[in-house]
């Protein structure tokens, strides 16, 4: 197996180069996980997280409860007091606060909750919108977003099972206006795992491997567009969108080929190669902390339920469409990461559950916090495509010798079959040639000239050989760039 060998090779190189000096730094040296122990008797399979005024964390659960956690930023576990704010709701997978109300996305409706008598329990449950249907299939989840720049809340609706849309708007992303109006907005969803915006305020969701999805991915939800699974297109006329109904894609094709034929089809912005990067993409946050979460301001982070990890996503727009790279970021969470919340002070709260879907972290459910320790890890900071290669920037000054040595790199490309059956193997593999690597004057970036870039392919880059100017290997030496379009 190519990947296996590459990883092994990288691991040997990294160990060999570093063993002589100091112990190899680990993720924990830069980003620390703090457990917020869930009290005995509480089953908090976290579905969504939100910060309320007064620094109180709200955590909703798949069992339909919402707990308040006091002093969530504390370093003393005894400070985390859990109080039940509400119960009896239907699998809450979205929480956001506005103007005294906590908005909770349940399977069948968007509800807002209020505590009118200040006893720390919700007593008013107002239905804001219920313009979609469910039928009892477990798969028909509804994920809710935060408010977008226009004040809308987005709801992403899973299909009925993996293959069909039996009820209205299954397989769609809807917008709920501040007035409670439901606007079916984007078609083609299959099995979302979370919603989130980038720094520019554009809405994205995570999609999971399955029919019409060769691997998990991050997809941009643009109004009127189609993101790949045709089952939900049957509701197109009910959606009352201005454009024409997208054509049904051809099974067995490639998404890049179909996107040329079907103008509404937006390919995934970033694929998360399966299983190298994970098997179940879920929550999305964007680092808007202005540096409080480390050297990745403006970038997005995506969790993976199966691998109990958080990945980093570096996006750019090429010819008007999003694409970019994913890079491993942090592993070792206790349960199956589902919900994430990044607060302005730089605390990334992560809630997990592995009911129904196993996870590497073996706990049934968990609530954890990830904080930057203040030390800068040596990482690829950005990866952007050029017409003839890639520009990579780094979080620390780089060593000219290893960075310009072509033996420091390995690259291959591949893509997935775009098909109605479940998932896809990696196909159409190519091996582009890295012709040169030129370090920039500021010693923080390198330009790779690559012959054989492939449109529609994931470019898997391993950089085991490169070192920072202080002799460190990369904390994560792999990046996977989804090249939907090659820039001019």
């Amino acid at each position: 197996m190519r990947v296996g060998i590459l990883t092994l090779f990288a691991a040997i190189l990294a160990t060999a180069a570093f063993a002589a000096d100091a112990p190899t730094p680990t993720e924990a040296d830069y980003y620390k996980i703090t457990d917020l122990p869930i009290p005995a008797g509480v089953v908090l399979e976290v579905g969504a997280l939100e910060m309320l005024p007064g620094d109180v964390l709200a955590a909703s659960s798949r069992r339909g409860e919402i707990y308040l956690v006091d002093k969530p930023f504390s370093s003393n576990p005894r400070d985390f007091v859990f109080t039940k704010f509400a119960g009896g709701l239907h699998e809450v997978l979205g929480l956001v606060y506005r103007d005294g109300w906590l908005y909770a996305t349940q399977r069948g409706e968007l509800t807002r909750l209020k505590d009118t008598n200040n006893d720390r329990r919700a007593d008013l449950f107002e239905t804001v919108a219920d313009g979609w249907e469910i039928n009892g299939d477990y798969h028909e989840y509804a994920f809710g977003s935060r408010f977008d720049r226009d004040g809308n809340l987005w709801v992403a609706l899973c299909l009925t099972g993996s293959f069909s849309s039996e009820n209205k708007f299954r397989g769609w992303a809807l917008r709920i206006t501040p007035e409670g109006k439901v606007l079916p907005t984007t078609s083609g969803l299959r099995s979302p795992g979370g919603l989130g915006m980038n720094a520019a305020g554009d809405m994205f969701y995570t999609e999971n491997q399955g029919p019409w999805n060769g691997a998990c991915s991050l997809k941009h939800l643009a109004p009127g567009q189609f993101v790949g699974h045709p089952a939900g297109l049957k509701w197109y006329d009910d959606a009352k969108l201005p454009g024409k109904k997208p054509e049904t894609p051809k099974s067995g094709s490639r998404v890049a080929i179909e996107a040329k034929r079907i103008p509404e089809l937006v390919p995934p912005a970033v694929y998360f190669p399966y299983p190298q990067m994970g098997q179940s993409a879920s929550g999305i946050v964007c680092d808007t902390t202005n540096g409080k979460f480390g050297p990745f301001a403006g970038q997005m982070f995506v969790s993976d339920q199966a691998a109990s990890t958080v990945m980093r996503v570096v996006l750019e727009k090429v010819k008007g469409r999003y694409q970019g790279a994913c890079i491993p970021f942090r592993q070792g969470f206790s349960s199956g990461n589902l919900a994430m919340l990044l607060t302005l002070d730089g605390s990334l709260f992560i809630g997990g559950t592995n009911r129904g879907w196993g996870s590497r972290g073996g706990k049934g459910y968990s609530l954890e916090r990830l904080n930057w320790t203040g030390k800068i890890p040596f990482e690829v900071q950005t990866m952007s495509a050029r017409h003839d290669g890639f520009d990579l920037t780094f979080t620390k000054p780089i060593d000219k010798k290893t960075v310009e040595d072509l033996k420091s790199y390995k690259m291959r490309t591949f893509t997935y079959i775009y098909q109605e059956s479940y998932g896809s193997p990696e196909v159409d593999e190519t091996t582009p040639v890295i012709e040169s690597a030129v370090i920039a004057a500021d010693s923080k970036s390198v330009r790779l000239k690559v012959k054989g870039l492939q449109e529609g392919h994931i470019h898997e880059l391993h950089m085991a050989g490169i070192r920072s100017s202080d002799g460190l290997p990369l904390l994560h030496d792999a990046a996977y760039y989804t090249m939907n379009l090659i820039p001019d």
């Binding site: 069992r63 399977r107 219920d130 098997q279 196993g358 049934g364």
Partner: protein
């Protein structure tokens, strides 16, 4: 007179004829023996250039006449011709005649050569007649009619289990690599085809037609499907007695004299002598092969009764439209008397009886109901239904003529039939030039027009070339045997293993057939439906297991509907031997533990359970369902897998199965559960291995099965929004400390259910993925009417709206709860806002509900009604109304309820009287 303008000009007609002749010639030229491996991989096999020719030499049986040394024989995987010992019980005479006259036309793609091509027409006819009598002298063809239910079940099975992998879909476009099926109805009867499908190796010992390990029932239904267009007359198998009269129910036949009686085929209502007002009594003996519980279904118009051994099992009596009733009875193996009594009181006449039970279960996904009369015989003694038939489709009863049999026996040897086919009455074979001496020959069988003395195989050019190519090197085979790699590739080609399995980047499922591979676990992706690649199979599977899989077939992946067939030991021993020589993974050193074996196994058990690696979330364990997908059973693992492979696989599954959904349990070889066995990866894997080695006696790990999760309302109310049976997908269940409960349907904006006692068991929704609807946990459940509770009626006689609340524009606004969580539901319609508060009332007997509804509107309507009940009966009582005799409803104050008819039911509606901008209804419900 023919209209001259319609006549085809002679020149055009001639050219059509020429085109037709050319077309037929092209068809004929295209008729050649079809060997799937040759059709698919053709003559170009760079790694093993002689393989295509050797494949054909083996498949066409060349070496039966062209002698070879044992060394050369080892290079050839010879297919044996069908055994003809019992052909008379299998084949129709007309088929045998036609097939002998022109094999490629009657069975396109056959590897049987045309042996009689050199005879003139009269000699050929005589020879064929004699051969037919000889071949069919040994048996009688049993007969049965195709039944609709069996055809449906057979079609599903045919398309599911792998028949289409070699033969293609019976109604689709034929694929070049498919083995064509002849007109099977012309060849077989249903019982004879079923017998062949159940035991193909008895007739074709070389495993090219593998056994799919069909049960007798499965073979039956596939035969029904394949012969679905067969029209045959079968022998009567039931007795009937016919009566005339007017009855309201099945009469007492003991007091009646039949107007007619006799024997018939199945439940034949055509035996009635008039259209209506008659009765029938059918009887016969039902053969049960497997003891157990059997379910009978009786469908009739009008009444009918089904009795087994004179005891009533299904009662579907009375005057009624077509209706079905069922009954269950335990039956021992053997013959049971079946009686079906029926009467018609007028109108339509219908009668069907089905059976379902252990002797009739089919495959994985089909619970078969079959026409019970297919298994009935006239007498208790008759052995196997359906009864042996006397007639065959399209031809008179065949009686072998002893003179012709004797003549045929001589001709059978003389024409060389006995060289390939058993029985070989003379024990002699045709002797032709030894294979090694043929050289680059284009004569004999390989001639474009073979001489009369040579069999005519109708080889196409590619086939001729391939055979000649390998014959050139035949001499050199004297000194060499095939390498294991050659044996594997050649056997996989000959047995068409490549149609399912990829190995060494050769073969695998063809794209045209891909969609035919199906699964019960779609979410497993291709792993759940496509048979595995065979690269590294020696490293993976235990040798005995692999050998057995090839010889006996497999069904370890219940979700994969295509079956691993049984090829038989003779066809696969050399293949298994060759697999044995393939590399295994290096040994895993013995792992020692400081602890007792029992404790090590409990560590293994802990590791696979839900508190550690959670393997059981996706893998079944001793057939207990997993939470998620139902991947291969864990208790089979040590039976199947090599320990060396298991140790390496769990550390990096994608290396062994690219694209697998199996997550890495020990990422990068590191444990994620450091507290078990000191966090030592090798010890942990070994502990799992040892634990699983207990196979089906391994103790169930944590996380299997569902524990009840009852919800209790103790000091405050409990709300449970979920899928509640009877209250919809947006049900809001409320349990009160008073032990009264209700479910509000937020989609229908109505009270859906009321009940007493226990509230809800949440385990269905809070374990696993949480599929489906859960009924209330308590008792005395009352279902309230579907549809909105309020409507505007311009007159009290107008019907209540039938649309759903959401469709009528009613809006659910949520609820408010008291500090002890008691909700008041909020909803709107038009300009009217409603606050609807259920108040449980604890009484000394059973709890009841008071419902306080407050409506407000700026423009109150005076035509608004509240519908309190809908039922079969609503009876006024001194202090309210009794609905269906089950529950009581009453109202406070001066309301004027109206009881009215509504589409065959009774409705209780209450006019709503506003006082200013508000109106209040206080309703009491007791039950």
């Amino acid at each position: 007179m023919t209209d001259p303008s319609r006549r085809i000009p002679r020149a055009v007609f001639a050219s059509i004829c020429i085109a037709l002749i050319a077309f037929q010639a092209a068809l004929a030229a295209d008729r050649h023996p079809i060997v799937a491996g040759f059709e698919r991989f053709g003559a170009s096999q760079k790694a093993d250039p002689t393989a295509p020719g050797l494949l054909l030499i083996g498949e066409l049986g060349c070496t039966t006449c062209h002698g070879v040394s044992s060394t050369i024989e080892s290079q050839i995987n010879r297919k044996h011709a069908p055994l003809l010992e019992s052909a008379g019980a299998r084949l129709r005479p007309d088929f045998v005649r036609a097939f002998l006259a022109d094999p490629q036309t009657v069975k396109p793609g056959t590897t049987m050569p045309h042996v009689l091509h050199g005879l003139n027409d009269s000699a050929k006819k005589e020879t064929i007649e004699a051969l037919t009598h000889y071949v069919l002298s040994n048996g009688t063809l049993p007969e049965a009619r195709p039944s609709r239910k069996s055809i449906t079940a057979g079609e599903a099975l045919f398309n599911q289990i792998g028949c289409t992998v070699c033969h293609g879909k019976s109604d689709g476009k034929p694929l070049a690599t498919s083995i064509p099926l002849p007109d099977l109805g012309a060849k077989y009867s249903i019982p004879s085809l079923a017998e062949f499908l159940a035991n193909p190796h008895r007739v074709r010992p070389s495993g090219r037609m593998p056994s799919l390990n069909l049960t007798a029932q499965e073979a039956q239904v596939i035969a029904h499907y394949l012969l679905k267009d067969l029209r045959v007359n079968v022998r009567p198998n039931m007795r009937y007695e016919y009566f005339e009269g007017d009855w309201q129910k099945v009469p007492d036949f003991s007091k009646l004299k039949p107007k007619a009686s006799g024997i018939c085929e199945g439940l034949d209502l055509a035996r009635a002598e008039r259209a209506n007002s008659f009765a029938m009594r059918y009887s016969g003996f039902l053969r049960i092969e497997k003891a157990g519980q059997y379910r009978f279904f009786l469908h009739s118009d009008d009444g009918a009764r089904l009795l087994i051994d004179d005891k009533l099992v299904v009662d579907n009596d009375g005057i009624h439209p077509p209706q079905e009733n069922r009954g269950v009875v335990g039956l021992a193996r053997g013959a049971h008397k079946l009686t079906i009594e029926y009467f018609d009181g007028g109108g339509q006449v219908e009668l069907e009886a089905d059976i379902q039970g252990p002797g009739f279960s089919i495959g994985n996904t089909i619970r078969l109901r079959q026409d019970v009369s297919s298994f009935v015989t006239l007498t208790e003694q008759e052995a196997t239904p359906p009864p042996p038939g006397a007639s065959t489709a399209g031809s008179a009863r065949f009686t072998a003529d002893s003179a012709l049999v004797d003549k045929g026996k001589t001709l059978f040897v003389q024409h060389g039939c006995s060289s390939c086919h058993q029985p070989n009455p003379a024990g002699k074979s045709v002797v032709a030039k030894p294979l090694a001496a043929l050289g680059d020959s284009a004569s004999g069988c390989l001639a474009s027009a073979p001489p009369a003395s040579s069999p005519m195989y109708s080889l196409n050019t590619a086939q001729q070339t391939a055979i000649r190519e390998s014959l050139k090197s035949a001499g050199s085979f004297e000194s060499k045997r095939p390498t294991p790699a050659q044996t594997i590739a050649r056997t996989m080609t000959a047995l068409n293993c490549y149609a399912c399995h990829e190995r060494g980047q050769v073969g695998g499922v063809e794209s045209e057939r891909n969609a035919w591979f199906t699964t019960t676990q779609k979410e497993m992706g291709d792993e759940g439906r496509i048979p595995p690649r065979l690269d590294g199979v020696t490293a993976k599977l235990k040798p005995t297991y692999l050998r057995q899989a090839l010889a006996q077939g497999l069904k370890d992946r219940p979700y994969m509907l295509t079956r691993m067939p049984r090829f038989g030991a003779p066809a696969t021993t050399a293949l298994a031997d060759a697999f044995d020589t393939e590399p295994k993974l290096g040994p895993i050193p013995a792992i020692t533990f400081d602890d007792t074996p029992k404790r090590v196994k409990s560590a293994g058990r802990q590791l696979v359970g839900s508190d550690a690696l959670s393997c059981i979330k996706c893998h079944t364990f001793r057939n207990s369902e997993a939470e998620g997908i139902q991947a291969i059973d864990m208790t089979l693992m040590t039976k199947r897998l090599n320990r060396e492979w298991f140790h390496r696989y769990v550390i990096n599954p994608p290396e062994f199965r690219p694209g697998t959904r199996m997550p890495t349990a020990w990422p990068n070889g590191q444990t994620i559960v450091p507290n078990i066995l000191g966090g030592d990866t090798a010890k942990q894997i070994e502990a799992v291995w040892l634990y699983l080695s207990d196979g089906s006696s391994a103790m169930i790990p944590a996380g299997i099965g569902r524990q009840p999760l009852p919800l209790f309302a103790i000091k405050e109310a409990v709300i449970y929004r979920n899928f509640i049976e009877g209250a919809g997908t947006r049900a809001i269940g409320v349990g009160y400390p008073e032990r009264a409960n209700l479910a509000f349907d937020a989609n229908g904006i109505r009270y859906a259910l009321l009940w007493q006692g226990g509230f809800m068991d949440a385990s269905r929704h809070w374990s696993g993925r949480g599929e489906g609807f859960q009924p209330p946990m308590g008792d005395n459940v009352i279902a309230l009417p579907d549809g909105p509770a309020f409507a505007s009626l311009s007159s009290p006689s107008n019907p209540w709206p039938t649309l759903k609340a959401k469709e009528l524009g009613y809006i659910f606004r949520g609820y408010r709860v008291t500090p002890d969580q008691r909700p008041t539901f909020l909803y709107e319609f038009g300009e009217t806002r409603v606050e609807d508060q259920p108040v449980p009332v604890a009484t000394s007997k059973t709890p009841s509900f008071k419902r306080v509804i407050t409506l407000s509107s700026d423009h109150p309507s005076d035509t608004l009604y509240f519908r309190a009940a809908l039922g079969e009966t609503i009876k006024p009582t001194p202090n309210g109304f009794l609905v269906n005799g089950e529950w009581r409803v009453s109202f406070d104050g001066e309301l004027k309820p109206i009881v009215r008819n509504s589409a065959g039911k009774t409705e209780l509606i209450v006019p709503v009287k506003f006082n200013g901008k508000t109106a209040t209804i206080v309703e009491h419900i007791e039950w």
